[in-house]
Each structure stands twice: as C-alpha cells, then as structure tokens.
C-alpha cells in the first residue's frame, strides 16, 4: 500500500479505527525510509506516530494525520501533524507528565513520544480540538 506514493507531497491518512493506526505506522515508516533516517530513528518516529495516532483515535474521537518530508539545509526529516476536533486537553502540563492518563493507558503517549522526536508542538483548545506537530531529523 505504500508503493508508488509521491513523497514530495504531504501524505494524508484519516484516523477512524484501529486499522487506520496501523496504516499511519506504515505510512510514517515509508516516509522515514525515504528521508534516510537511521534504523533507530525510523523506529523512534514510527513508535511516536503510533502513540499519537492512538491518542487521536481514543481521546480525540478520530481525526487525521498528515506526513511530510521536510528539509532543513543539509538534513531531511519527517514531519507529522495529528489533528482532531475532540474535547482538547484541559491541563497540558499534567497531560505531558509521565504516567498521567485520563483514559486507561500507561500515560506514556504524550510524554514518551516527545522524547522520541526532535521537535514537538502542541496546540489544544476546547473549541478546536488538538493539533500536534512532531518532526524527526536525519543525522
């Protein structure tokens, strides 16, 4: 399913079900390979994407993921945007704490995936939902 994708364009994937989370992982992996990320960095960014896509599904009530190859001078990278129009995150500081969970998870989704990527931005509000942008650069 990842064959023949045009990596010059942002790749979009909606997140409505479990299977979509798997699709997000496969998409991110394909883009990470194309951006020449090392094996460990590929694994890190795919894991982060898996955590965040699951958050989008479970806490955001579904949403969309967009994966783009970005370039910064000599380095390439993968940028992923997770957007949902769910209830937003009431206490961001608390949500970013290791071990905190409002659902039934391990509470590592947000805090853990932040450690796995190089850049991590989060915008959240009750009206518009949550939008998380992460970037992983090749070394």
């Amino acid at each position: 399913m990842t064959a023949g994708i045009d990596l010059g364009q942002p790749q979009a994937q909606s997140v409505r079900s479990d299977e979509d989370v798997v699709r997000v992982r496969q998409l991110v992996r394909a883009v990470a390979v194309a951006s020449k990320l090392s094996l460990v960095d590929q694994t890190k960014v795919v894991t982060a994407a898996s955590e965040l896509a699951r958050n989008t599904l479970v806490y955001g009530g579904g949403g969309s993921v967009e994966v783009t190859v970005v370039e910064n001078g000599r380095r390439k990278g993968v940028q992923i945007v997770f957007a949902d129009s769910g209830p937003g995150i009431a206490d961001l500081d608390l949500a970013m704490t290791d071990g905190y969970t409002s659902g039934g998870g391990l509470g590592l989704g947000l805090s853990g995936s932040r450690r796995l990527v190089d850049e991590f931005q989060i915008e959240t509000s009750v009206e518009t939902g949550t939008r998380i942008t992460v970037t992983k650069w090749s070394r």
């Binding site: 992982r25 998870g105 853990g112």
Partner: protein, 136 residues
C-alpha cells in the same frame, strides 16, 4: 480481523508475531493465549517479537498483561527476539516492561523456561539461578 497463531511445542506455547498488529488483534491474542494456557496446561509461553519493527506502549502493555495472566495460570512467559532499535526506543519512551522475562532468541527463551521449571521441581538455595533473566 487477523489473528496471531499460537503453536504448542511440548510443554511450551509459542507465539510468533509476524504482522503489524492492530490494537484489537493484540487484545484478541491476549484472550486466546489465556484460553490456550488453561486448555493445554502448558507451563511456558514464548512470545517471539523478532518480526516486530516497533513496540509501542499498547503492545508493551499487552506483553505485561500476558505475563501477569500466565503467571496466575502457573505459566512462565518469556518475550524473545526484541530488536536493538526497538529496545532503544522503549528505553527512550520510558517503558520498562516490568515483570517480563526476556531472552535473545527462541532457543535461549526455552532454556530459561526449562531452568525456571527445573527450579520449581528441585528448589535449592544456591547462587542466583535467575542470572539470565532480564528484569530486575
């Protein structure tokens, strides 16, 4: 939905996860395995994750739960074949897989289960017999 096959080899149940599991498949595996442990009366479970290119917190939690469930059902669980990149990522993610025994490959995993089982049959207070276990 796809299902992960469970093989019985002697006194051991072998689960080799070969696909990128959806969360539902993972939960299904957890249930299937509990049933098979009871049905077969096996004392060891080996979960081979050589083919998994990532383990996220959901799969990590599933592995922990399987280990706990099998312990209650008097079976030892060993997770084998974790790739280096996966291990490094789990450390960074902050997932410690507490309570799970690990081994490098299926063969070492079987040794571990055999040793644990032998200990139970012939218990003795000697030097730490669990030297090969991975969890503190």
């Amino acid at each position: 939905m796809e299902r992960v096959p469970i093989l019985k080899i002697g006194d051991i149940l072998l689960v080799s996860i070969q696909l990128d599991m959806s969360d539902q498949t993972a939960v299904q595996l957890q249930e299937d395995l509990a049933e098979r442990i009871v049905a077969t009366g096996c004392h060891g479970v080996i979960i081979d994750i050589t083919a998994l290119d990532i383990v996220d917190s959901f799969v990590g939690r599933m592995l922990s739960t399987i280990a706990s469930i099998s312990k209650v059902l008097d079976a030892e669980t060993v997770v084998v074949g974790m790739r280096p990149a996966v291990a490094i990522t789990l450390v960074e993610l902050g997932l410690s897989l507490n309570g799970i025994r690990t081994a490098l490959n299926v063969e070492r995993g079987m040794e571990l289960i055999a040793a644990a089982h032998a200990d139970e049959l012939d218990y003795q207070l000697d030097d730490d017999p669990d030297a090969e276990t991975a969890t503190p």
